[in-house]
């Protein structure tokens, strides 16, 4: 009898233990489950500069006030270190729960199974205020691996203070061609007397520039399957243009161009007022205006009115959740807060790009600085066409490959034709190698 009771007690204890264990596993171990009330710590990592760290930290604190049981640990680095450390922590199965992701890398992480399909966490993640086209930029094979944070557009920044000084009128960007840019650049370089140049040389971190050139001619860098379909003629034309700019003195000498490229935004020709026209993302207007102290105006890229429209919305970055996160539901709830909360948005503003969430974009409109307003207006008014396919798995090194070929061309180590052929071959082999 007593033995029977004891056995039964033991059984109950065992069962309740198992149940509580299962419950413990259940709470937060599924993306679609309920949010747990247990204390949870999530790691959240991003790249960026000081301003971003401060704003993000504030938003983290706001979230923690609403969810006292969730602690968010922020980890931040600058761009290069970020990707090195993400690669290694992923390998060590120690990836952060929530991460800031870039268009260059999203496919390579998603296709290697490192990211959570956010649709699984729909219950906690509201995407109703996002444009479908914008959402599609974060999807691979129909799975939502990233939620776009902000949108940006590739543009030209013109230093109108310098143009006024040299008595050169601001060009009409609704009509201008690539040749027009060359001509005006030449005038500037002449007036600048070796101190100020017309155009900051493209070709470095400029994959978007090459892609837009192709799109203006109805072509593209990659097809839907991720094959490189960039026509060699387009690439040849692209590098011929860059070589011409340098040869004619419209762009600074090659060694200056290369040096400034690795020194970062604050040392760029635009920021140091040593070139009038520069290729940038429209959202960088605020940072560059602050660095240069001059008046900068956003212009459309040349050639947009001669052929097809090449411009497009590029998601400045994504929020992604690790597929190995132990608390995907809570992570999704945090992403939802970052993307949808108006109070949070009023702190973050356009620091990560003009918000992709349309409701948020309007909510913060009143609070924007002059330059942020200009960036938003550019995005709202300049015509665009469908975005290109996201950079396929394996091609995340495309920027580095582009830069190396530009250097080869600038220093006369190869011809534009040879650079074009070699670039296409190398990018294709990178895509093939990742399969």
């Amino acid at each position: 009898m007593s033995r029977g009771v004891r056995r039964r007690t033991a059984l109950t204890v065992l069962m309740s233990l198992t149940a509580s264990l299962l419950a413990a596993c259940g709470s937060g171990s599924e993306a679609g489950g309920d949010l747990t009330a247990e204390p949870v710590t999530l790691r959240f990592s991003w790249w960026g500069a000081d301003d971003r760290h401060k704003r993000t930290q504030q938003v983290i604190e706001m979230f923690q006030k609403k969810h006292p049981n969730i602690t968010i640990k922020g980890e931040f680095k600058e761009w290069n270190g970020y990707w090195d450390s993400l690669a290694t922590t992923m390998a060590a199965n120690d990836a952060p729960d929530i991460m800031q992701m870039d268009e260059l890398y999203i496919a390579s992480y998603a296709e290697r199974g490192a990211l959570l399909d956010l649709n699984e966490a729909k219950k906690h993640l509201d995407t109703s205020n996002f444009d479908q086209k914008a959402l599609a930029t974060g999807a691979v094979d129909g799975k939502q691996y990233g939620l776009p944070v902000g949108l940006g557009m590739y543009s030209i920044m013109a230093n109108t203070d310098l143009l006024a000084k040299y008595n050169i009128p601001v060009p009409d960007d609704t009509k201008w061609s690539w040749d027009d840019l060359k001509k005006i650049g030449e005038q500037v370089s002449k007036a600048g007397g070796g101190q100020v140049f017309g155009v900051q040389s493209p070709g470095i971190n400029d994959t978007a520039g090459l892609s837009i050139r192709a799109r203006q001619q109805g072509k593209a860098m990659f097809d839907a399957q991720g094959k490189v379909v960039l026509p060699p003629e387009v690439a040849t034309q692209y590098w011929t243009y860059i070589a011409d700019l340098a040869k004619a003195g419209i762009a600074p000498p090659p060694s200056v161009t290369v040096e400034k490229a690795s020194a970062g935004l604050n040392q760029s020709a635009t920021a140091t007022n040593t070139a009038v026209f520069g290729f940038w993302w429209n959202t960088q207007l605020t940072a560059l205006t602050a660095a240069s102290g001059a008046k900068l105006k956003l212009l459309r890229l040349p050639g947009e009115s001669q052929g097809k429209v090449g411009a497009y919305y590029k998601p400045s970055m994504f929020w992604s959740v690790s597929s190995r996160s132990k608390h995907p539901a809570e992570a999704a709830a945090f992403v939802s807060f970052l993307a949808n909360d108006e109070e949070a948005a009023k702190i973050l503003l356009t620091e990560r790009g003009v918000p992709a969430n349309q409701k948020i974009r309007e909510a913060i409109a009143g609070q924007l600085k002059e330059t942020d307003k200009a960036a938003k207006e550019y995005l709202d008014t300049v015509p665009v066409s469908d975005p290109p396919r996201i950079t396929p798995n394996g091609a995340s090194t495309v920027d580095a490959i582009l830069k190396r070929h530009t250097e080869d061309v600038l220093f006369g180590r190869t011809t534009p034709e040879a650079a074009a052929a070699s670039f296409i071959k190398e990018v294709q082999s990178e895509v093939d190698a990742a399969k």
Partner: protein, 307 residues
């Protein structure tokens, strides 16, 4: 006490004490030993295995046989990286050793404040492969850097030395030569070992300083020179930080500072091709082993042991 005596004592007296000593020694060594096994030997063995796989850091490695090693022979960028690395090693090591020997000879003449100079010349070796110095280098050799200002003084127009593919590697060679401190210290110690009587005898016979150097100093110093040569060649092959920082991790411009190790790193951490990176690491081991073997073989013909 000869080794035999020691062995005898081990057999008879004090065996117990020694056993206890050995045990204690083992425990004191254990933390280091654990580090050796888990942090060094483990990964080394793992990388050997990974060399035969395709491994992208996230999905499990896939066995692909000798493909990675075969790729070494067709990879043109790797061949360029090998060229850069060989140039770096073969130019910078002899220059560095010449500098080290030259300065050691000067310091050996017993000037006042020797300790200060010795430390001052040694300092760069401590700092040489650090990030801070590599950053400093970009400040010196940049388009608006220190060197160009000095050149500007003399009316010479400089350029961006680091950002021009024709000169970028030279700046790294200069950086390596500058860190001649540690071979210099070893040379100094070697010079002190040479008995003064040789020089006295030579001076009495009327030998010039020059022939004293060639006939006495150099032969007697040759074992030290050999030691430094082997060490610095191995060291130079493994250089990474300088090129990484100076080129911003790219090995540019135009792959002109693409050291072998930097290329290996890029394969592993930018291209996520850990299998190929592992194969490259083992290939580098072979290259260094070959160079060291050649060194030891050649040593028979020029290294002189005075015993």
């Amino acid at each position: 006490m000869s080794a035999l005596d020691e062995l005898r004592q081990l057999r008879h007296g004090g065996v117990q004490v020694r056993k206890r000593d050995n045990k204690a020694a083992f425990w004191f060594l254990a933390p280091w030993f654990a580090g050796l096994v888990f942090i060094t030997i483990g990964p080394v063995l793992a990388s050997f295995g990974l060399g035969f796989t395709k491994y992208n850091l996230i999905q499990p490695p896939k066995f692909i046989g000798f493909d990675n090693f075969a790729r070494i022979f067709t990879d043109e960028r790797l061949h360029n990286a090998l060229g850069v690395t060989f140039t770096y090693v073969l130019v910078s090591v002899p220059l560095q050793l010449a500098c080290a020997l030259g300065v050691a000879l000067l310091l050996d003449r017993g000037l006042r404040g020797l300790a200060f100079y010795r430390s001052a010349f040694y300092l760069p070796s401590l700092l040489g492969s650090s990030v801070a110095i590599a950053v400093l280098w970009t400040q010196i050799f940049g388009a608006e850097g220190l060197l160009n200002r000095v050149l500007g003084f003399f009316g010479v127009e400089g350029k961006g030395w680091i950002s021009d593919p024709d000169t970028a590697l030279s700046t790294l060679i200069v950086l390596n030569v500058w860190t001649f401190g540690s071979p210099m210290i070893i040379f100094l110690a070697g010079l002190r070992q040479i008995p003064a009587v040789y020089y006295e005898a030579a001076a009495i016979d009327g030998a010039s300083k020059w022939s004293q150097f060639w006939r006495i100093t150099l032969p007697l110093l040759s074992p030290i020179l050999f030691f430094n040569l082997v060490l610095q060649i191995i060291h130079a092959f493994q250089s990474f930080t300088q090129a990484f920082v100076v080129s911003g991790g790219t090995g540019g411009p135009s792959d002109s500072t693409m050291f072998y190790t930097l290329y290996l790193y890029q394969q592993g951490f930018s291209r996520f091709d850990m299998g190929y990176a592992s194969a490259l690491a083992w290939f580098l081991l072979l290259i260094i082993a070959a160079f060291t073997a050649i060194n030891f073989w050649a040593a028979k013909y020029w290294v002189f042991y005075d015993d």
